[in-house]
């Protein structure tokens, strides 16, 4: 029961993150939204795995946590390097 | 007719059409590739939906489970995803080369430049 409630809350938060990802206004808001979305997905998968009683899903949650971190860092570094280059050129 | 039993298929159709729309309606080549990706994932979703059995569990054999989802679509799609990223990267590489040659990734600009030659 309480797990189902948590899942619903998580889905709600995912909807909010998605709204922010659509709205922007700048790219960092979208990155933040994607990051929030990623951590919520980790929790969602973990909770679902208990709700449905299949602990194999936890490996996936772990992968999500890793990938989420890597992609956020990647996005930031690439945008930053781009700005540096453009700053050097302009 | 039970709407819920067709909901997955319709979502697939909508996704596929959104991808299709991006591919034909947007002139930017990167955007076209994103559209192609959406198209591709809609096919993945179709396969995986077809493999689901209600009440089944993940196809990892265990003594206390009797009903499993179909493993065959999983195998096909698992490899298709990795192949998909490999082919997408070929497409992106081509986009980079096109940009180097034409100075643009907009299909209309590229066509215009081609006509001038």
């Amino acid at each position: 029961m309480i797990l189902a409630l948590t899942v619903i809350v998580l889905l709600l938060v995912m909807v909010v993150a998605l709204l922010r990802a659509f709205a922007g206004p700048n790219v960092f808001d979208r990155v933040l939204a994607a990051n929030l979305f990623g951590t919520k997905t980790v929790l969602l998968i973990a909770t679902i795995s208990y709700l449905f009683g299949s602990p194999d899903f936890l490996d996936i949650a772990l992968v999500y946590a890793l990938i989420n971190y890597i992609s956020v860092i990647g996005v930031l570094r690439i945008t930053e390097l781009r700005n540096e280059q453009q700053g050097a050129d302009g | 007719m039970d709407v819920l039993s067709y909901f997955n298929y319709w979502a697939v159709v909508v996704l596929m059409m959104l991808g299709f729309f991006i591919v034909i309606a947007r002139a930017n080549l990167v955007k076209k590739l994103i559209g192609l990706n959406i198209f591709q994932t809609s096919v993945f979703i179709l396969y995986i939906s077809a493999g689901k059995v209600i009440g089944g569990s993940a196809p990892i054999l265990s003594d206390d489970v009797t009903l499993y989802s179909n493993p065959l679509p999983h195998v096909l799609i698992l490899t298709a995803i990795v192949v998909g990223i490999a082919t997408t990267s070929v497409g992106l590489a081509l986009v980079i080369r096109i940009h180097a040659a034409y100075g643009s990734v907009n299909q209309n600009d590229i066509l215009k430049q081609d006509q001038q030659c």
Binding site: T6, L32, A46, T47, Y50, D59, A65, I73, E80 | -
Partner: protein
Amino acid sequence: MSAILEPLSSVCLLLGSFLLLTGALGFLRFADFYARLHACGVTETLATALIILGLMLQATDSALPQFKLLLILLFVLFSSPTASHALAKAAWNAGVRPRDRRGRRDIALPPGDR
């Protein structure tokens, strides 16, 4: 044993869910990027920890799920604040500045902070 663990787990999950909701509300409503980052960056780490703790307190047959959850928790505790830090720094370097309460214009900063 489970008579203690079960309510404890529920409390953790509920508290975590509540924090998530508040964070999401702030993320949606706040005026500028840094306020939004603050809203979800701060709540996120605690909420994640609470929810994972709540799940760990759920009864299972073996200890393996608990161990995996612990790994997830450790990873999130490391990576989530780092990601928030990186985001704030990148946004600052890119020229995003805090805004006033209505989100209309940038707040004037002392010259040294620009």
